[in-house]
């Protein structure tokens, strides 16, 4: 018996670690390569220093960790174990990534709420600076006969509505209202504050966001889209037919318990469950050409420079059939694309012949997808990435009919509000 025991223990241990190595290399090599590619700047910047060697080693280390076979399943089990042991907080090696379950059953992160821009929070001088930047852009667009609309996505954490196991310092809700008041009082700009709008329309705050993701859900994004259409019609007389922003003219295919958002992937699906994901696409006929521009090398590696042609549900929501059959992984960027420096969407069957430029963060992706049904051309610029022109130069060259700024409060940073700088 003792000999059997000895062999069992040895064989299981060696077999398990060897098979994991083999399967990780066989099946997840692409994940490792992608991870290495994300650190390519560090790796290719060859220099004679210990920091460089450490950077390379760290990159290999994290690439291998990312590529460990069954990694997602392990993380799921981790979340399940934490739940079993009665935990409502999942701590992380990076304190900003600590995740907890709120009283509303949704996941919250100490870091996600402040989005790495914690220094900017509660600082009215900085918010005033952003208000001035938008005001300056507003004057510029007015001079150039371009309409400008600022749509503010709501803060996900509302201390009046949600209690968390540990207190966090998050003033994003107040910041939204403060920036809104500054823009409203000091500019002629059309500003839509979703925090006011959803209350006016008696929309339940609990329904706005995903449980496992820091983003709003797709239904809320559609609601935001319809509010923007209404505002463009009311304030700028765009004449977008109502059928384009009436949800009854869209198919809503719900994939239940299928989506694990940015917070959920850190806790695993067994901790707080998964979200339902809405595949919303037009019943009416569509015909698109989508181009992901190759502004930087990262874009090229992720399909930049390639044109995609087809219907909304083939190109803009890519690709509905694969998503339904779970052949493609559902991500928030299933709408349009994941965040890229520049995306150009041409719509050959649009509601209007107008051209629109959207200054976006990730929240804007599904909204932009729906907006693209209305306009002959929709361009998305993400100021976090490399651009050859400043926003103002881009506007002068492109001459859009309208510029839409769609930001969530996590985007309150210099990067998103510098409209004069080339990256």
């Amino acid at each position: 018996m003792k000999k059997v025991y000895e062999r069992i223990i040895s064989i299981i241990f060696v077999g398990f670690i060897s098979i994991t190595l083999l399967f990780s290399l066989l099946f997840n090599w692409h994940t490792m390569l992608e991870s290495l590619y994300e650190n390519k700047d560090k790796i290719l910047n060859v220099r004679l220093s210990s920091e460089y060697v450490k950077d390379v080693i760290d990159s290999i280390d994290s690439a291998y960790t990312e590529g460990v076979f069954f990694r997602k399943q392990y993380i799921d089990i981790y979340g399940g174990l934490q739940k079993m042991s009665g935990k409502s907080i999942i701590w992380d090696s990076n304190p900003n990534n600590t995740i907890m379950i709120g009283s509303d059953g949704k996941l919250y992160s100490s870091g996600n709420i402040t989005m790495n821009f914690a220094d900017y929070y509660s600082n009215k001088d900085i918010l005033n600076k952003y208000a001035e930047a938008v005001s300056d852009l507003s004057m510029f667009t007015t001079q150039n006969d371009v309409d400008l609309l600022f749509f503010q996505a709501p803060a996900r954490y509302d201390a009046d509505e949600i209690s968390l196991p540990i207190k966090i310092s998050d003033t994003s809700k107040d910041n939204v209202d403060y920036l809104y008041s500054q823009l409203k009082d000091n500019t002629d700009l059309t500003v839509l504050n979703s925090q006011i709008l959803y209350k006016e329309q008696d929309i339940d705050f609990a329904d706005l966001f995903f449980k496992t993701d820091h983003h709003w859900n797709i239904k809320t994004a559609f609601w935001a889209y319809s509010e923007i259409c209404k505002a463009l019609n009311n304030y700028y007389d765009y004449k977008i037919p109502e059928l384009y922003f009436n949800i009854d003219n869209y198919i809503n295919y719900v994939i239940p318990s299928s989506y694990l958002g940015s917070l959920g992937v850190r806790t695993g699906g067994l901790f707080a469950g998964r979200d339902d994901f809405d595949l919303i696409y037009p019943k009416f006929e569509t015909d698109y050409v989508k181009t992901i521009c190759k502004v930087d090398n990262l874009d090229i590696s992720r399909g930049g420079g390639i044109q995609y042609k087809g219907k909304f549900e083939e190109v803009i929501l890519s690709d509905v059939n694969k998503l339904k059959s779970k052949k493609s992984e559902i991500i928030f960027g299933s709408y349009v694309s994941s965040d890229r420096s520049e995306v150009i969407i041409e719509n050959r069957k649009s509601a209007t012949d107008k051209k629109v430029l959207i200054l976006k963060d990730s929240f804007a992706l599904p909204v932009s997808a729906f907006l693209s049904t209305c306009f002959a051309e929709t361009r998305l610029l993400d100021l976090r990435y490399q651009h050859e022109k400043s926003v103002k130069e881009y506007i002068l060259d492109y001459a859009p009919d309208a510029v839409l700024i769609i930001y969530n409060p996590g985007a309150y940073s210099d990067t998103f509000f510098n409209f004069d700088k080339k990256n």
Binding site: V14, Y64, T65, Y74
Partner: protein
């Protein structure tokens, strides 16, 4: 590279096994050369530059040992001195120089500056191993190793390289060439490694969150201060003993038998007993290479007290260049002296009181040890005794969130496995249970490792 990482578990280790047990099977010399090379890679993974210092240390100590042994009539004290000066020298430069300069600047109001060195991982461990080798050779134990690679393997062998135990050359001298690998040893090693890994990733890392919160806080309630101190006491035990278990386990897999480093220290009935159970390899090192040469206890009382003072001052300093470590070492000096003076009267105290007395003193010791500076330690002590300061709501959250870990942590400080072994007489049942427990612990540990949880290693800094 750390043991509790995916790249170690699922890349480094299986590749090492493949070469060691398959490709170089039963070829001792290639196996040893291979182990030396992978040990250097293991160290370079975390310290790509300081690996050169490690290699230099190997060469210097190999050379010095040969010179020490060379003289026909007696050993060569000069080369012993040179070797020790080298080892203490690099330890001083990398670990203590900045601390000394800072204090000189403070005392003499000067501005002596030096570019800060980062601390090479595990420097205190490998320099102490190297010194024990030189001293043992000098003392006439016929141990000198002429093969540079074998000296290199002894100093840099990856299981015990960066956080001990401090292996004495005499322990492994014969094993380098004449060890025997077997299923029995391998499975013992595997079991030990899994226990160590689970101590580290399941218990120590979870407890670290409470401890770091408490010790990192600006304002601290009494309850949270006590919880933080208890959590740190458990964390440091599971962190360090877990690493030692992994090291001993890995050693066994390759046929090496290292000495034990921990023996349920939190069940000790006195401070003296605690130190016979805690970090045994360091305690015996100081005993054999410092305390005994100074005369040990076989001298007059004042001299014995001086000897103890020196040993505990060095013990404190060994842990780091900070006044907190020095005071921590001297704190233990005081209690060890008191216990020596009281003598065996302490044994007449009921066991439970002895254990409580030891635990409380050790707990205060850990507060000193964990604090960033003396002032912070006193602030922490103040918080521990600011009864009625409230803050229970936060403390209860941490207790509730970590209740399972705290319970298992307390249980794992006691020799539960030994007790179970005594209760369960049936060998089949015993082995079956052991397999089940090991599989569960391994599975949960792997989940924690792959998830990449909070993963600080305390003893890497020493």
């Amino acid at each position: 590279m750390v043991f509790s990482s995916s790249i170690f578990l699922f890349a480094f280790l299986p590749i090492v096994f493949l070469f060691y047990f398959v490709i170089f099977r039963k070829k001792r010399k290639p196996q040893n050369i291979f182990l030396f090379i992978v040990s250097i890679v293991f160290y370079a993974w975390g310290e790509p530059i300081f690996v050169l210092l490690m290699l230099a240390t190997i060469v210097v100590n190999w050379f010095c040992a040969i010179r020490i042994n060379k003289t026909a009539c007696g050993k060569n004290k000069l080369w012993l001195t040179l070797g020790i000066v080298y080892n203490v020298g690099i330890l001083f430069v990398f670990k203590y120089l900045l601390f000394v300069l800072d204090n000189l600047n403070l005392i003499f109001n000067t501005n002596l500056l030096i570019k800060g060195f980062s601390l090479p991982i595990g420097i205190s461990f490998f320099t102490f191993q190297a010194m024990s080798y030189l001293i043992d050779v000098y003392r006439g134990k016929d141990l000198v190793q002429r093969n540079l690679l074998y000296v290199g393997l002894y100093i840099s062998f990856f299981p015990q390289l960066i956080a001990g135990p401090i292996v004495r050359y005499e322990t492994v001298a014969d094993q380098i060439n004449n060890r025997t690998e077997s299923y029995e040893l391998f499975s013992e090693g595997t079991a030990r490694f899994i226990f160590g890994l689970s101590k580290k990733v399941i218990l120590a890392n979870s407890l670290a969150i409470i401890a770091d919160t408490a010790f990192g806080g600006t304002t601290l309630a009494c309850s949270m201060a006590w919880l933080g101190a208890i959590a740190y006491a458990l964390q440091i035990f599971f962190d360090f003993s877990g690493y030692s278990d992994m090291a001993i386990g890995l050693g066994k897999m390759f046929g090496f038998k290292f000495n034990e480093n921990f023996n349920y220290p939190y069940t000790a009935r006195s401070i003296s007993e605690f130190w016979r159970r805690w970090h045994i390899s360091m305690g015996t090192w100081f005993r054999d290479y410092v305390y005994f040469p100074l005369g040990g206890s076989r001298v007059k009382k004042p001299r014995m007290i001086l000897n103890l003072f020196i040993v505990w001052l060095l013990t404190g300093l060994w842990h780091g260049a900070n006044w907190t470590f020095i005071v921590w070492g001297l704190y233990y000096f005081c209690f060890i002296v008191i216990e020596k003076l009281i003598g065996k009267k302490l044994n007449s105290v009921p066991k439970v009181f002895g254990v409580l007395y030891t635990l409380i003193l050790v707990l205060f010791g850990w507060v000193l040890f964990r604090s960033d500076n003396i002032a912070a330690a006193f602030t922490y002590f103040k918080a521990m005794f600011s009864f009625g300061s409230g803050g229970w709501d936060i403390t209860l959250i941490y207790i509730k969130e970590n209740a399972v870990i705290l319970v298992f942590g307390v249980l794992a400080c006691m020799p539960i496995v030994t007790w179970c072994g005594r209760v369960i007489k049936n060998e089949y049942l015993k082995l079956s249970l052991k397999i089940i427990v090991l599989i569960i612990l391994a599975a949960v540990s792997v989940v924690y490792v792959v998830k990449g949880t909070y993963n600080p290693f305390i003893y890497f800094n020493f």
